[in-house]
Structure formats: C-alpha cells, structure tokens
C-alpha cells in the first residue's frame, strides 16, 4: 500500500468517524432522554474524528519525516566495514540515494552501492506495509477509545477549541522554525566560506572574480572574493531606483490622497495595484530589451557612452517597479494624519499645497521615511531585473552609465549550472546571501520601528 493511498484511507476513515460519532451522540441522547447537549452534535462528530484520526495521522507524518534517515541507518549498518568509511559517509549516502532514484546511476554504481540500494528498496517496501498496519491499528485503538469515552457528558465544544488552538500553534511554530532553519543553514554555509576566505577580505576587498580552478590542472584564476564592487553596484542601482520611485511614488500618493476627486481615486488606485502585480521578470526583459537600447541610443546622440547593460537602465526600471510600493505606503501614512490637521490648516486660509507642505508632510514624514526604507530594502533584494539588465562584470564604479553587478546577480550566477558544493565559489553565494539578509533585516527593522513610532503618535 503506497503512503499516498494510505493517507486517503486515513482521511476517509476520519470522516466516517465524524458521521458515526454525530449519529451515535444523537442516538444516545434520544435513548437517555437528554434534552440539552452541552455542544452541537457536529462538535461531537468533529471530536470523534479528531480523537480517532489525529493520532494515526501523527504517526503517519512522523514516519514520513524520519523514514529516510532510519532506513539509511539500517542500510549502512549492514554494509561491510561501514566504520572505516566514516569519512566518506556523506558521499556514500549520496551515491546510494542516486542509485535508488535513478536507474542509470544504479547501473554505474559499485557492487556495494547496488547492494545497499537493493536493500533500501526492500526495507522501504516492508516499511510502507508496516506503516499502513501501524496507522490502521492506531486508528482502530483510538476508535475504540472514542466508543468508550465520547459520551454526552464530554464538553466537545471546549475540547475542539483546545484542539484548534493547538493546531494554530503548531502552524505558527512550523513557520518560525522554518525561518530559523533557513537562517541557520545560510549562517552555517557562510561560516564554511569564511574559513577559506577571511571575512575582512570579503567585506573590504575591492576585487571580485569568483572563478576557481575546479580541477588541479585547470587553467583559471584562484578566485578573489572582495565583495565591495557588488555592494557598490547594488547601492548604485538602488540609489537610481529610489531616485525614480521616491519622488514619483510620493507625489502620486499625495495627489491621490489629497487632490484627486473620488472618481479618479477609485480608477487610479487599482491601476497602480496592477503595476505592483507585474511579475519582475517582465520588468526585467522590459529593461533589457526596451530601456537599455533606448538609453544607449539616447546616450549616443548626446555623445555619452552608455554601456548596453547599464546601472541606469536597471535602476530606472526597478524604480518603476517600486513606485506602487512607495505610493501605497505613503498613501497609508498620509491618510493616517488626522482630518483635524487638514481642517485646522485649511481653516487658517492655507491652500491645499501649503497644507500639504507645512502640516501634512511634516506630520507624515516619519512614516514616509519608514516606507522609503522598506522600499530600499526591496530594491536591494530585487533579483530578476538586475539579472537581466545589470550585467555580470564586477566594476567598482559610481558611474551609472557603466555596467555593474549586484549581490543578487552574483548569487544567481554562482549557483546556476554545475557546481561543486564545497568550493569557496559556491559557498560565497551563502556569504552574499547572509550579507543581504542582514542588511534587509536591519533596514526593515528600522523602518518598521519608525512606522510604528509614527502610528503611536496619532492613536
């Protein structure tokens, strides 16, 4: 019985338990002449389904999570001289996994590995039968308990509330632990990178050329991992983007929230949302195919030498991408300024724009700055546009007409294609990722703090 089939059976059984418990409760109350139940019959049904089904499902998922490790442990134990291979254990496991999943690898594998793979398959088949048996018997036992303990005296409604709370807690715990897991794995891989390349070289080195000789005899550089050109490139593009997005986004927010008649507002807001909904890859080829050549052509006519993949093009398009983000955040904070401020200023005989400039913007400024910081952190983390439009060469330059590269672009290029997983070149991606994560985290943290501070002011 395949595990997938098993889960359907378990779910079907649980639903059966639902209807059964519900019916049974109605029958019991009728027989015992109980006029008032403490919960609805549906509550008893649900509780019956949960009591009967949840333990079996728990067993099922726990097994799925740990199956691989347990089985592999068994397989390795039967291999001869497993002890001596401790050093290459990881490699061996990898080989066995390949042999199991891929017939061609199996053909090419060594005798030992093939044996292990066969053994693994055998075990896995036995295990799935054992799992089915275990789950079904757990279900049977629990159903018996339901029969015995699910009486009209049970406060089913309260019990279900407890279960719901536990389930929600489980979900949020999963989300949190996943995040922690990702951070730890990036941290771990990055620390491996910093064992080969000193952190000071990474953070302050001016030369970035991550090509490493993979084989001993390969012609190639030994690699240089000074990330400053990437940081500068990222900042340059983000700067250009913010130069576009901050004024346009802010002004359009001001227009929409303060000046526009409600008809215009209802039409224009969804349009801006559409702009926010364009996939970044579309912006990317827009940048690469339309904006870059146009800039290059324009540069040529006024005698400027614009690279075909310039920071300017990528920054401009990224700015356009961020406009709705800036605009909707600014709109929120401007709308949060109390109407009394506007009335006060207009009542003094100030015009709309004077009110805006002298009262509303100063009042909303902290919130707007918070919004801009969030926008910057988005610009820094943005990948697709820069991959397509910003170029790959790590120039250390502040000239937006030249090609630069960014942290995200380098992460992509480092990890695309065949990679050796423990070479500094690949690990560098994790170090870059960690840096990126850290910078955006700090930016978001400051921004959210500022925005929250601002909200408190008026609540």
């Amino acid at each position: 019985m395949s595990p997938l089939f098993l889960i359907f059976i378990l779910l079907a059984l649980s639903s059966a338990a639902y209807f059964f418990s519900q019916r049974r409760m109605l029958r019991q109350t009728r027989d015992a002449n109980i006029t008032r139940l403490n919960s609805l019959p549906e509550h008893f049904g649900m509780l019956g389904a949960i009591w009967a089904g949840a333990p079996a499902l728990l067993v099922y998922f726990l097994w799925l999570i740990f199956e691989g490790d347990i089985l592999m442990g068994q397989v390795l134990a039967i291999l001869p001289d497993a002890e001596s291979m401790a050093a290459t254990r990881e490699l061996l496991i990898g080989d066995i996994r390949n042999a199991i999943n891929n017939p061609i690898s199996y053909q090419m594998a060594s005798e030992e590995v093939r044996m292990a793979a066969d053994r693994y398959r055998e075990l896995s088949q036995t295990a799935s039968i054992a799992l089915a048996a275990a789950c079904l018997s757990v279900f049977a036992i629990c159903s018996a308990l339901v029969l015995k303990f699910l009486t009209p005296r049970v406060r089913a409604r309260i019990q279900i509330e407890k279960f719901v709370r536990g389930f929600l807690l489980l979900c949020s715990t999963l989300a949190i632990f996943t995040t922690i897991g990702i951070v730890l794995s990036v941290l771990f891989e990055a620390s491996r990178f910093f064992q080969t390349v000193p952190i000071t070289e990474f953070l302050f080195g001016l030369d970035w050329s991550p090509q490493m000789a993979i084989r001993e005899d390969q012609v190639g550089s030994s690699g240089a991992f000074g990330a400053v050109p990437l940081f500068v490139g990222t900042l340059l593009i983000s700067f250009v983007a913010m130069l576009v997005a901050a004024p346009i986004g802010l002004m359009s927010a001001i227009y929409l929230s303060e000046y526009a008649p409600s008809k215009v507002r209802t039409a224009a807001k969804p349009l801006l949302e559409i702009l926010a909904g364009v996939p970044t890859v579309v912006y990317g080829f827009f940048a690469a195919i339309v904006v870059s050549p146009a800039l290059r052509g324009f540069g040529a006519t006024i005698g400027l030498d614009v690279a075909s993949e310039s920071a300017l093009a990528a920054g401009l398009v990224m700015g356009i991408m961020i406009i709705p983000f800036v605009s909707s955040l600014s709109d929120d904070v401007i709308a949060a300024v109390p109407q009394a401020m506007r009335d006060g200023s207009l009542g003094m005989g100030a015009t709309h724009s004077e009110t805006m400039r002298r009262v509303i913007l100063p009042a909303a400024l902290p919130g707007i700055i918070g919004g801009l910081l969030l926008a910057i952190s988005r610009a820094i983390g943005e990948t697709m546009i820069v991959v397509m439009a910003a170029g790959l060469s790590a120039n250390l330059t502040a000239n937006p007409l030249e090609a630069v590269t960014t942290v995200t672009v380098q992460i992509v290029t480092l990890l695309v294609g065949d990679q050796e997983f423990d070479s500094p070149k690949t690990l560098a991606a994790f170090a870059l990722g960690l840096t990126l994560f850290f910078v955006t985290l700090v930016l978001n943290f400051i921004a959210l703090y500022v925005v929250r501070k601002y909200r408190e002011q008026y609540e």
């Binding site: 401020m341 009335d343 006060g344 009542g347 100030a350 002298r358 009262v359 002011q457």
Partner: protein, 288 residues
C-alpha cells in the same frame, strides 16, 4: 420682515414647511428677528445638501459685529453645517452643496470669483477638538502670518505671536517654552493655542464649533472668559451644546431644529421667555 406673525397666522405656502416632530405637526418657520444692528455677515435663504440629503433649510441669520451669536439645538440639527458655510469649510466635504447667499461686506462669499482661501483668512475657525499642528507653540501661532505673508521680518512675527498668545490668555503659561511642541500642552491650553493661531491673522469673524466640548469645567471657564474678551475685537459665532454656555457668552442665540432655524433673538429673551414651543421644550430639557 416680522416673522412672529407667521406663528399666529400661517400663510398657505409656509404650511408646506410644516414637518412632523414628535406627535404633533409643528411649524418650523423662524420665530424672532434674525437681523441685527451692524451685521458683519448675513446668511440669506441658505440650504445645504449632503448629496441628496438636505441638512439646512432656508436659514436666515445675521452675525453681528463685536458680539457673540450662539447656535444651539439637538445633535444633527445643522448648526455645525451652517457654521462651516460661513468660511466655506464645507467646500472640502465631497458631495456638499450650498444654495443661497452668505454675505460679507455686501458680497456673496459663494460668488464664483471669491477665493475660499482668502475668505478663511478673514473668517477664522476654532474646532471642536483642539487641533494644534505637530509643531512648536511658536510655529503654531506663526502659521497663519507666515502663509499669508503678513510679516516682513522675525521681529514682526515674534510680536504677532506674542500679542496673539496674550489675547488668547496663554502667554504667561507658555512664554518660556515657545519652542516646545504645541501637542504637549493640556487640552485647555491646546484649545487656547488654537484660538491664538486663529486670531494671529487678525480675522474679522471667528467661528467656534463646540470649542469646549473636549475640555474640563475649569478650562471651559477660561475659554468662556476669553470669548468675552475677544468680542471687543472680533465678531463671533459659536456652536455649543451647553445652554449655560450659550447664556453666559452670547448676546444673541439661535435655536435650530432638524435643519431649520426655529427661533432667534437676544439670549436673555430666548432663555427667559422662548416664543416657540420647541425652543421652550429644548431649553427646559424636555428633549434634545
């Protein structure tokens, strides 16, 4: 025009304005003399609509020079709406439409060429909830003079700020901390700051929309005292829910009901011998 006659002998087309109030049909035609000697502003046949809903019906009322007229009446009777017509603050509300004339110096402020921005410099307003700007006390008061270019240099500005604060009775309390934020003052001080802000541009009329409803009795007493002082230099219209306040601060009182101006007259007359049944019921506390 003597509208008292209307109560005794309603002429046919005025009968149509009769609406059902409570159990009885009550005539809502204005009782009393809505004019005054030496008026600063005149409201003539004003109707105000919010979309399709009419909030103010055919109101006529004068705002006298150097006197206080108070507008009283139950909630939703249109008194705040009418007050906001006087400096065209209703323009900022979507869907609000004003018909009729509001005259200042014989000119209709709703005429096409009148700029509401300039009008509001002449007709200042103090709001229900104190709304100082999140700026320093000094900048709050200096706001109007700055935007209207009333001062040439810093000395002039400081003088205006000081006189305004003094006239608002706030100077002694804040003169050592003019650079502190205005939002840090107490509620009563904030409201007096708003009054100082309003008088800093030397308006001719000051509109007050329940200026004491967010304040404690002591702060209220100070503001009322202040209104008595301000009357010497300004014309004041005040909306209030407190009949005692109306009796204390105003020379004339107008009673509104369901958007109609029901009775208007000298304050002492309104409170001692109201002519209209609704006014009497309201001031004696039988409804409202």
């Amino acid at each position: 025009m003597d509208t008292t006659e209307a109560l005794d002998m309603p002429i046919p087309d005025q009968l149509e304005e009769t609406v059902i109030s409570g159990k009885k049909d009550i005539d809502l035609t204005t009782v009393g003399d809505y004019t005054t000697e030496n008026p600063r502003m005149k409201i003539r046949d004003v109707n105000v609509f919010y979309g399709a809903k009419q909030a103010v019906f055919d109101v006529n009322l004068d705002i006298g020079s150097n006197s206080v007229v108070s507008m009283i009446g139950p909630s939703g009777c249109g008194k705040t709406t009418l007050l906001r017509c006087l400096n065209r603050m209703n323009d900022t509300i979507d869907g609000c439409r004003v018909e009729g004339r509001v005259e200042m110096d014989g000119k209709n402020v709703y005429a096409r060429k009148v700029d509401p921005v300039l009008l509001r410099a002449r007709v200042g307003m103090v709001f229900q909830k104190p709304n100082p700007f999140p700026k320093s006390i000094f900048d709050n008061v200096a706001y109007g003079p700055r935007i209207h270019g009333l001062v040439r240099d810093r000395t002039d500005l400081e003088e205006i700020v000081h006189t305004s604060l003094e006239r608002a009775g706030l100077l002694d309390e804040v003169k050592d901390r003019l650079d502190q934020p205005g939002t840090g003052l107490s509620g009563g001080q904030q409201q007096r700051l708003c009054i100082a802000r309003a008088i800093a541009v030397s308006p001719e009329v000051i509109l007050m929309d329940e200026p004491c409803s967010a304040l404690d009795p002591i702060a209220t007493a100070r503001i009322e005292e202040l209104i008595g002082e301000l009357r010497k230099n300004f014309s004041i219209a005040i909306v209030t829910h407190s009949m005692q306040q109306a009796a204390r601060v105003s020379q004339r009182t107008a009673y509104f009901h369901l958007g109609y101006l029901v009775e208007v007259g000298p304050t002492k007359d309104i409170f001692t011998m109201p002519k209209h049944q609704l006014t009497e019921e309201y001031i004696t506390g039988r409804f409202g």
